[in-house]
């Protein structure tokens, strides 16, 4: 038995510590710790609910936009507002752009170095790399001189003696199995993706003013007015098409090929229960019009997707650094921070442990793709089937670390394809097509309560707001990484990531590369996962969620 600690876990957003107990070369138990507490909820108190999105958006600069729009939705829900059609479409496009950006960066910049050995790439034969490149996708036209140049660039970097971010990596670890040529092709695409993500972010700048932290959100619509022109609409469409092309040429084929080479990861990082709140409203009617439907799957029963009732969520704090009662619905949540030192047998995280119908639920790409699949979402089914067929796998294989990383690429393809047509539905500003709030259709209430639900790239997200005298009295968020990275609950049942790490092989305890692979398949984003309530406020939410 050995305790293996990864602190800090790198190539993630935020601060995360993972401790594992390794026995006979495998993880026997794992503990997930978030060591940062920022305390955003108390800062929201007493502010105008229409301003809350500015603050909640800063929960995360990686998942930028998502916490902003969810906050806006919660206030709009309290006012029963229907936003202008143009605003609905633009919000879907901003969200879609966020998915594409986030997933690309996860795969290439955050996850890839778990599978690709940079040092090995230095001994690649560029001519053979062309062959590999065409095996991954025959539509690629890169030449020997392209890969020679990439190799030279990497070699010049290595020979400079300043290895920077690549210094002290687990290079040469026996779990790296790719050939030098495969490693070179993927390193080339690491660099290509670094450039591509910058272009993808332009979509946020066009309809949001800038990225990260787009600024055009407003209760009732989108601020875009003078700048919503036909040339902007064309500019956006061109970016969607370019992003779609990158997904088709690189991201999806790269993911499929890489997972085919590491097919044993179908055996690790298992998933059991999945939940999705659904996303992309295609009309003003929710949740019925959601492009990605809402639903929950228990015990891998893909074909029987259950409806979701947010009143069945409870949050446990038995193993978290809070004083107070052990389990509550978020609508009645109240917590007092109480740091007591890190003790995996006692309290060990700032994250609470949310449960749905008492069960730990995984949220994120895998949840969405399987809920979509179970609900008969045609585009998702086509991509899942194609992926499984290529790797010679069947549907249950999706409930794994391999399936989780595949699901991210699959849904990116589905979203990018859909965005091409959505982008064509935006209309330039005229008096009858404005995306701006229509002041004739609603007025701000003095008091109210509302819920905003959506799917962030990392999973199901909900904001609950209560206000009176146009001031926030209570604000609660249940966020993706809280679901995935939360600690054990009151019954000592591990959170999804903790449970998922059991059984992962560890060839070298000093370099737990395999553990990192499973952690990164969840795409940790921790800044938003930690939150607290003002202990002096005990107001409850009266929200009938779908």
């Amino acid at each position: 038995m050995a305790r293996v600690v990864l602190d800090p876990v790198t190539r993630i957003e935020g601060h995360l510590r993972i401790e594992t107990e390794v026995s006979n070369g495998k993880v026997a138990s794992a503990w997930s710790t978030s060591p940062l507490f920022r305390g955003i909820e108390p800062i929201l108190k007493d502010r105008d609910p229409r301003d809350a999105w500015m603050i909640t958006q800063r929960l995360c600069g990686v998942c930028t936009y998502v916490h902003g729009v969810t906050s806006i939705r919660s206030v709009e829900n309290s006012l029963q507002i229907t936003i202008p059609e143009n605003a609905r479409i633009i919000r879907n496009l901003l969200m879609g752009a966020q998915f594409i950006h986030d997933h690309l960066v996860n795969f290439y910049q955050l996850h890839l170095l778990d599978w690709v050995d940079v040092v090995s790439a230095l001994s690649a034969d560029p001519a053979k790399a062309v062959t590999v490149d065409n095996q991954i996708n025959s539509a690629r036209t890169r030449t020997t001189s392209y890969f020679t140049a990439i190799k030279q660039q990497l070699a010049a970097f290595a020979n400079s003696g300043q290895l920077g971010p690549f210094n002290n990596g687990y290079w040469g670890h026996p779990a790296y199995i790719l050939t030098p040529e495969e490693n070179l092709v993927f390193m080339a695409n690491y660099l290509e993706a670094l450039k591509a993500q910058k272009e993808v972010a332009h979509m946020h700048a066009i309809y949001g003013g800038k990225n990260p932290h787009p600024q055009t959100m407003i209760v009732g619509g989108i601020t875009l007015n003078k700048d919503l022109t036909s040339s902007r609409i064309t500019e956006f469409r061109n970016h969607v098409t370019a992003a779609q092309s990158f997904v088709n040429t690189y991201y999806l084929p790269d993911t499929t090929y890489l997972l085919g080479r590491y097919k044993d990861y179908v055996n690790y990082g298992p998933a059991e229960n999945l939940m999705s709140f659904g996303e992309f409203p295609l009309s003003s009617s929710e949740p019925s019009s959601l492009f990605f439907p809402r639903g929950a799957i228990f015990n891998r029963a893909t074909s029987s997707v259950q409806t979701v009732d947010v009143n069945n969520i409870s949050e446990h704090i038995t193993h978290s650094w809070y004083a107070g009662s052990s389990s509550r619905n978020p609508a009645q949540g109240e917590t007092v921070p109480n740091y007591s030192g890190l003790d995996t047998a006692g309290q060990y995280s700032w994250i609470k442990a949310p449960r749905y119908q008492g069960q730990p639920m995984e949220v994120g790409p895998l949840a969405r793709v399987m809920v979509n699949y179970g609900k008969g979402h045609a585009a998702t089914r086509t991509q899942v089937s194609a992926f499984l067929q290529k790797l010679g796998l069947s549907l249950p294989a999706m409930y794994s670390s391999l399936g989780r990383t595949a699901a991210r690429a699959i849904e990116t393809k589905v979203i990018a394809d859909a965005m091409v047509s959505w982008a064509g539905q935006v209309t330039a500003t005229t008096p009858s097509t404005s995306a701006m709030p229509n002041r004739k259709t609603f007025s701000m209430a003095s008091s109210g309560s509302g819920v905003g639900l959506n799917e962030a790239p990392r999973g199901a997200l909900g904001h609950w707001v209560n206000y009176s005298d146009q001031k926030i009295t209570n604000y609660q968020m249940v966020v993706p990484s809280t679901w995935n990275f939360g600690p054990r609950d009151g019954n000592n049942v591990p959170g999804p990531v903790e449970g998922s790490l059991t059984g992962v092989p560890v060839a070298d305890e000093a370099r737990p590369l395999e553990v990192l692979r499973v952690i990164h398949s969840f795409n940790p984003c921790i800044a938003c996962a930690v939150h607290v309530f003002d202990p002096n406020r005990k107001s409850t939410f009266e929200v009938s969620a779908q």
């Binding site: 600690v5 990864l6 800090p8 790198t10 190539r11 993630i12 935020g14 060591p35 940062l36 507490f37 920022r38 305390g39 105008d48 229409r50 500015m54 603050i55 800063r58 929960l59 995360c60 600069g61 990686v62 006012l79 960066v105 910049q109 940079v118 140049a149 400079s160 920077g164 971010p165 690549f166 210094n167 002290n168 990596g169 687990y170 660099l191 670094l194 450039k195 910058k198 972010a201 332009h202 700048a205 066009i206 309809y207 949001g208 003013g209 990225n211 990260p212 932290h213 600024q215 407003i218 209760v219 740091y339 709030p437 002041r439 609603f442 701000m444 000093a510 370099r511 800044a527 607290v532």
Partner: protein, 308 residues
């Protein structure tokens, strides 16, 4: 594209080499040099020097520390263009420690930090992202078992220069806003006034970050700063004074725009390769580069066009 008689042969050769190696266009490269010159307020005669600084020289070591933050500043940095972010990472600076990007994790990551501080003491730049929680003996923020304050105390004074990147690092930002429980403070304050250059903004503009680096590569020195330690090239004028809508019927002053009291060069450098910025996207400036901007009242004038 033809040669430029402002550049000598040796520099031409280096530019050619860079252009070929990077597969970027010569035109884009020179355009970037021009943009940097404008951002820094330099005359066109500096163009060859800027090009020279970008294509040669040793890569200055950088250590990037993340405290109570949202990683938005890092994301902004990843949007750097020409030199593209990949070029910046591989050819311009040596990023010795950055948790979001670096390959190693856990003890191996901490080793990278320790080695870089020891090897480059007095010579490295430290970039700080996020503020530092001081309450509860610093236990609201822990990395590798150390408090964020401890890490800042150990690393920052060893640097040649500390760059406080983003509004949280520069002024405390959101964790320090009214209602916060963690007594978060900007790194300059938490380290008892350790000298720094502040690049506030939520997020900060990567163009200004690049200009700061180029300025150093050019002059081996730091740019002039104001009383709040902000470089005057980027924070010397208000948003309103630079705004394309100033004096027009589209001016957003009536809608709660903070442009008149916010010092930042957004209207000239814009964001995401000059694609847009807040006012261009029809929303008022929120004053995100100013100290205490979270506590200066509503972000919109809701009695106006954006009200209900």
């Amino acid at each position: 594209m033809g040669k430029d008689d402002r550049f000598d042969d040796k520099l031409e050769e280096k530019i050619d080499e860079l252009v070929e190696r990077k597969g970027i266009s010569r035109r884009n490269f020179l355009k970037f040099c021009g943009a940097i010159a404008v951002t820094l307020g330099l005359e066109a005669s500096y163009l060859p020097k800027i090009a020279e600084a970008l294509v040669s020289g040793p890569r200055p070591p950088f250590i990037w520390l993340q405290f109570a933050e949202c990683t938005g500043c890092t994301e902004a940095f990843l949007r750097s263009s020409s030199p593209l972010i990949d070029d910046l990472l591989l050819n311009k600076i040596s990023l010795e420690y950055h948790e979001t990007i670096m390959a190693p994790a856990g003890a191996a990551a901490t080793k990278s930090l320790d080695e870089a501080v020891a090897k480059h003491a007095g010579k490295f730049f430290v970039v700080v992202e996020g503020s530092i929680p001081l309450a509860n003996n610093g236990n609201y923020g822990l990395i590798g078992g150390k408090t964020m304050l401890q890490i800042a105390q150990e690393v920052c004074p060893q640097a040649k220069m500390m760059i406080s990147l983003g509004t949280c690092a520069a002024f405390g930002g959101l964790p320090a806003a009214a209602g916060g429980l963690t007594e978060a403070e900007c790194v300059h304050g938490a380290l008892n006034g350790l000298p720094t250059i502040k690049l506030p903004g939520c997020p900060p503009n990567p163009v200004n970050f690049a200009a700061l680096i180029v300025n150093y590569l050019l002059f081996n020195d730091f740019p002039a700063v104001d009383k709040l330690y902000r470089p005057t090239f980027a924070y010397g004028t208000t948003v309103h004074d630079l705004c394309e809508r100033r004096g027009t019927s589209w001016c957003m002053q009536g809608f709660g725009c903070k442009g008149p009291t916010t010092y930042h060069n957004c209207p000239t450098v814009k964001y995401n390769d000059k694609t847009s910025w807040c006012v261009q996207a029809d929303c008022p400036c929120k004053g995100c580069a100013q100290p205490d901007f979270w506590d200066k009242g509503s972000f919109f004038n809701y009695s106006g066009r954006y009200g209900a």
